[in-house]
Symmetry: C2
Subunit: 150 residues, 2 copies
DNA sequence: CTCCTTTTGTTGCAAACGCAATAAAATTAT
DNA sequence: ATAATTTTATTGCGTTTGCAACAAAAGGAG
């Protein structure tokens, strides 16, 4: 009886832990890298979209991003046609940090799939994307007060 | 360019979030279920072994398990032949809760792999186990102050 | 246009998190 | 046998986390 979610959980905690330790000396505190990466890859993205991509609580994202701004890695900009949404952009400092984050990320991904064939790697990614798609609606549902029956 | 670790991270956060919300009304606070499950499945296990399985900081595990004991879900017992290790056992209350946790866990795993063939499911588990094995040594290393080169 | 709902974002508060430092028992080395 | 190292567990401290509750703008329904 293998348990997919437990493997996923352990792997996720491993890499989160490693990343946080490695980025700390560069001025990024816990989990900030997660948000910075998304903002750098999607300039102008709004917070709620990051929440959807990353799967974290609104309030957590709000404060993490606030801190990123305070620390000079990103900037919030009022969209001209919309006074509610705040578009997020990396600063120069943020972009520099991103280059480093990318190197670490590439290294970690390569380390993760070491020993897998190119085909297995593709398969793994495809299956994980499927799992993620399966999970998303349940997450939305439960986060919004819905219940799962089992 | 698909990123395996980001998928893994999002999936893990989804299920952690769902689990925490679902278990809260039953008296389990954040992430306690993770430790309770391991103790129920491995009666007599010590804390450090759980840390190794789950991939979390010692101090986090220590306090989570302490709380589990305080809440009457588990018991710590001094091993007769060893005064350092503390063997962990579920109480009756803990075992009852475990039955429920198992149902939720089974449901979540089934939901996760919905639409995958039995073969794909096996493949996914196998590949995840491989990734986990790849990651473990790096986690140990970095947690103990070592550095990765990239 | 006005009312209702949804979307986006923030804040209060209590709890969990994890690095660092500590302690003590167990194991290994000399 | 004794010293050095490793293993196991805890605690101090500041930070992050997330549920709840809230606010305000945007979007839809009548």
């Amino acid at each position: 009886m293998g348990n997919i979610l437990r493997e996923v959980g352990a792997i996720a905690r491993c890499f989160e832990s490693i990343s946080n330790i490695e980025f700390k000396p560069y001025g990024l505190s816990k989990n900030q890298y997660i948000y910075l990466v998304r903002i750098c890859e999607n300039p102008g993205i709004i917070q709620e979209e990051i929440v959807y991509m990353v799967k974290v609580d609104r309030s957590t994202a709000s404060r993490a991003i606030e801190k990123l701004e305070r620390d000079g890695f990103i900037q919030k900009e009022q969209e001209s046609d919309n006074r509610k949404n705040k578009a997020l952009y990396p600063t120069e400092k943020g972009k520099e940090m991103y280059a480093f984050l990318r190197k670490e990320d590439d290294y970690s991904n390569a380390a993760a799939v070491k020993g897998l064939s190119a085909e297995e790697e593709e398969t793994l990614l495809r299956l994980l994307q499927k799992v993620r798609a399966n999970v998303e609606p349940d997450w939305e549902k439960v986060k919004n007060g819905g219940t799962r029956e089992y």
